[in-house]
C-alpha cells in the first residue's frame, strides 16, 4: 500500500461563472522515500491537487474520487482525525513565503504553534524543538524571535519548510517552494529539500511549473494539462524524450545551454493555456498541438502505455511505438 494514493480525483470549483472543473480524473501514488514531480502551467490544476490531499479546498467545492493517506481515506475522516493527520501525516510547503507567514507574529511562535497543536509537550520543549528545526533548515537558532520582514526571501522559505517539518510528516507536498527566489537561493533551498527528503525518507510531491527543477529533484514526473495528467514517467526520460506533444513543448521552454538547436531559437507554443471554465472539446490540447489530426478535436484520450514505466495521453502515442 502506498503512503499517499490519489484515485480518480475530480475537483470542481463552483464560481459565479458556473462549475469550473479544475482536476478531471487524476490518479497518482507515492511511497516513502519516493519523489514525484507534478509539472504544469497556471490553471492546470496542480495546486488544487495539493489542497485536495489535505482537504483544504473551500467547502462548496465538489470533490469525487479518493485520497488515501497511509490507506485511510482523507474524505472519510472525522474532524479530529483530520486535524491530527494534517501536519503529521502530510504537510505542505506553500508558495510565496511572504504571504504564507503571519507578518505580525515572530517566526518562533509560528513554528511552535504547529508543534503545540499536535504533540503534548510543554511550551519550553516546543520552543527548543523550533530552534532545532531552524538550525536544521540552516537558520541560526537565535533568529527565533525575528519577524518575517526581518528575514530574506530565502530565509522565509526555509522557515516555511521548518514549519512543514515541525510534526515529522511522512508525506511532504511542496507547492512552488522556490518560485520567487533567486537562482542561487533556489539552489540552496532545493539542496535542503533533497537532503531532508533523503534523511527522513519522506514521500515528496513537488509541484511547480519549472520542469527543469523537477527533473533535477524528482525521480518520477507527471505533466498536467487542463486538469489531467498527460504524461508520466521517469523524470530524465520525460524531460529529454517527451512523448506527449505538450510535454515536448514544455521541455523546449527550458533550453539547455550549449545546445545549438535552441541557440537564437526560442521555442514556444502558440495560444494560451486553456481556461478550465471553457475547455476545448476532444483532447484539450489539440488547439495548440503541432501534430493534431482531425480525430483529436473529438477524441479525448486517456493515459496509455508509452514505453517502460511511461504513459502519455495522446492518440499518436503507441501508434508510433508498435
Amino acid at each position: 500500500m502506498s503512503l499517499l494514493e490519489v484515485r480518480d480525483l475530480h475537483v470542481t470549483y463552483r464560481s459565479e461563472r458556473g462549475e469550473v472543473p479544475a482536476v478531471r480524473g487524476v490518479s497518482l501514488s507515492l511511497d516513502a522515500g519516493e519523489t514525484l514531480g507534478l509539472a504544469g502551467e497556471s490553471g492546470c490544476g496542480k495546486s488544487t491537487i495539493a489542497g485536495a490531499v489535505l482537504r483544504l479546498l473551500p467547502k462548496e467545492t465538489k470533490i469525487t474520487g479518493q485520497v488515501l493517506l497511509d490507506g485511510e481515506d482523507v474524505y472519510e475522516m472525522k474532524p479530529g482525525r483530520l486535524r491530527a493527520v494534517r501536519w503529521t501525516g502530510a504537510a505542505i510547503v506553500f508558495q510565496g513565503a511572504l504571504h504564507s507567514l503571519n507578518p505580525v507574529q515572530r517566526i518562533g511562535k509560528q513554528i511552535t504553534e504547529a508543534v503545540l497543536l499536535h504533540t503534548k509537550v510543554s511550551p519550553r520543549a516546543a520552543r527548543a524543538r523550533a530552534q532545532d528545526l531552524l538550525v536544521r533548515v540552516g537558520i541560526p537558532a537565535d533568529r527565533i524571535d525575528r519577524y518575517p520582514h526581518q528575514m530574506s526571501g530565502g530565509q522565509r522559505q526555509r522557515v516555511l519548510i521548518a514549519i512543514a517539518l515541525a510534526c515529522d510528516p511522512h508525506v511532504l507536498i511542496a507547492d512552488e517552494p522556490t518560485t520567487a527566489l533567486d537562482v542561487m537561493v533556489q539552489a540552496q533551498v532545493l539542496a535542503l529539500l533533497e537532503e531532508l527528503q533523503r534523511e527522513k525518507h519522506l514521500a515528496l510531491l513537488f509541484i511547480t511549473h519549472d520542469l527543469s527543477v523537477l527533473t533535477h529533484t524528482c525521480k518520477r514526473l507527471a505533466v498536467m494539462y487542463a486538469g489531467r495528467i498527460v504524461e508520466e514517467g521517469p523524470s530524465e526520460l520525460v524531460f529529454t524524450d517527451p512523448q506527449h506533444p505538450y510535454s515536448r513543448a514544455l521541455a523546449a521552454a527550458f533550453p539547455t545551454i550549449g545546445d545549438q538547436s535552441s541557440r537564437m531559437n526560442p521555442q514556444g507554443l502558440a495560444g494560451d493555456p486553456p481556461d478550465p471554465a471553457s475547455l476545448p472539446s476532444g483532447c484539450p490540447f489539440h488547439l495548440r498541438c503541432a501534430v493534431a489530426t482531425p480525430e483529436c478535436s473529438s477524441l479525448d484520450v486517456e493515459l496509455r502505455p508509452a514505453g517502460e514505466g511511461r504513459a502519455a495521453a495522446c492518440v499518436h502515442v503507441g501508434a508510433s511505438h508498435v
Binding site: F254, R263, N265
Partner: protein, 323 residues
C-alpha cells in the same frame, strides 16, 4: 565598428545619500541590432542600471549617451530620449492601464510623441507586428479581457510603435507561463533581425540569454564582472561567480554544482578588494592562496580586463593567468 546606439561610461547610481552603491562604475556599449542580456541576482543593480538609461534614476557620476546624444534629466531631453528608447516591464498587467482599451494603450505613445500618420493604421500595424492579428479584433478590448501573453504583446506593440532604436526589457517573460515564453522571446528577436533595433534585456534566466542574446553581461553588486559573446560567457565562463551561476542552472548537464552560501549581498555594504571575495569558491577552497593572489582578492578592487577586447573579466585569478 559603427557608433554604438548606447554607450555607458563609468556610470554610478547611488541611493540613500551615497550610502548604497546600486550601480558602481559601469561602462559598456551596445551596437545596432544587438541583444545584450544583463544577468545577475536581485539587488545586483541590473534593473537600476536600465532605469538609469531611460532617465528614471539620476546619475551620481558618469555619462550615458544614446545615439551620440547625452542623456540628461531635463524634461525636453527626456521626451526626445524616450522616442528612441522604450522600456517594457516584467508584469504586463501592472504596466497597462486597466481602464484604457488596447487601442488607447498603443495610441498613447504615438500621441505623446506626435508621430505622423493615420493613427488607426499605425496602431493596427503595431499590434499585427506584435502577433495580435487581426488587430481590429483587439482595439476595443481591455487588458483584463486578454491573456497574459497577449498583454505582454500589447506592451511590446506600444513600445515598438514608436520605432525606437533601443528597447529595454526588464524580465520580459518572467511572469509568463513557460509554454508562451518562447513565442514572446522570438517576437522580440524578430524586431532585432528585421528592423535592427537593439535590446538590453535584464534577466535572471540564463536560458533566455542563450535563446536570444548576442552578448551577455554578468552583474554582481553593482559591477559588471564578466562580459562577452553569449556563446563564450555561457559555455566557457571565466569569472568564478558566472561559473557558480551556471552550475546551478538545472539544464546544464555534467557541471558540478557550486552552491554559494549566504544571501544575495547587500549593496550598502560592499566588501573591500574584489567585491565577490567573501563568497568566492577560489578563496574558500584555498586556491587563491595557493596562487598567491589572496591579498589582492581581499584588498585590491578591480575592473574588467582586458581594457579592450570581446570577452572581459574582473577577477584577479583570471588576470594572473593571462599575464
Amino acid at each position: 565598428m559603427s557608433e554604438p546606439v548606447l554607450s555607458l561610461h563609468n556610470v554610478q547610481v547611488q541611493f540613500g545619500g551615497g550610502r548604497v552603491h546600486a550601480v558602481d562604475t559601469v561602462s559598456l556599449d551596445v551596437h545596432a541590432g544587438e541583444v545584450l542580456a544583463l544577468v545577475g541576482e536581485s539587488g545586483c543593480g541590473k534593473t537600476t542600471l536600465i532605469r538609469s538609461i531611460i532617465g528614471l534614476e539620476p546619475l551620481a557620476a558618469g555619462t550615458i549617451t544614446v545615439d551620440g546624444e547625452k542623456v540628461t534629466g531635463n524634461a525636453r531631453g527626456l521626451r526626445a530620449l524616450r522616442r528612441k528608447v522604450q522600456m517594457i516591464f516584467q508584469d504586463p498587467s501592472g504596466a497597462l492601464n486597466p481602464r484604457h482599451s488596447i487601442y488607447e494603450s498603443v495610441a498613447e505613445g504615438l500621441r505623446i510623441h506626435k508621430v505622423k500618420g493615420h493613427e488607426p493604421q499605425l496602431v493596427g500595424d503595431a499590434l499585427a507586428e506584435a502577433g495580435l492579428r487581426p488587430p481590429e479584433r483587439f482595439f476595443r478590448r481591455f487588458p483584463h479581457e486578454v491573456s497574459g501573453g497577449q498583454r505582454q504583446r500589447v506592451l511590446i506593440a506600444g513600445a515598438m510603435a514608436l520605432r525606437p532604436r533601443l528597447l529595454l526589457a526588464d524580465e520580459p517573460v518572467a511572469s509568463l507561463d513557460a509554454s508562451i515564453r518562447g513565442e514572446i522571446l522570438a517576437l522580440m528577436r524578430s524586431y532585432v533581425d528585421r528592423d535592427g533595433v537593439s535590446i538590453v534585456a535584464v534577466t535572471h534566466d540564463l536560458g533566455l540569454a542563450w535563446n536570444i542574446a548576442d552578448r551577455v553581461a554578468v552583474m554582481y553588486l553593482g559591477r559588471i564582472v564578466e562580459i562577452g559573446p553569449a556563446e563564450e560567457v555561457l559555455r566557457a565562463p571565466q569569472h568564478p561567480y558566472t561559473q557558480a551561476l551556471l552550475s546551478v542552472v538545472p539544464e546544464i548537464e555534467g557541471m558540478e554544482q557550486q552552491i554559494l552560501t549566504g544571501e544575495t549581498p547587500d549593496p550598502s555594504r560592499v566588501p573591500s578588494g574584489c567585491r565577490f571575495h567573501p563568497r568566492c569558491p577560489l578563496v574558500a577552497n584555498g586556491e587563491a592562496e595557493r596562487r598567491g593572489i589572496i591579498d589582492k582578492c581581499r584588498g585590491v578592487d578591480l575592473e574588467l580586463e582586458p581594457e579592450v577586447g570581446e570577452h572581459r573579466v574582473a577577477c584577479h585569478a583570471v588576470h594572473v593567468t593571462r599575464t
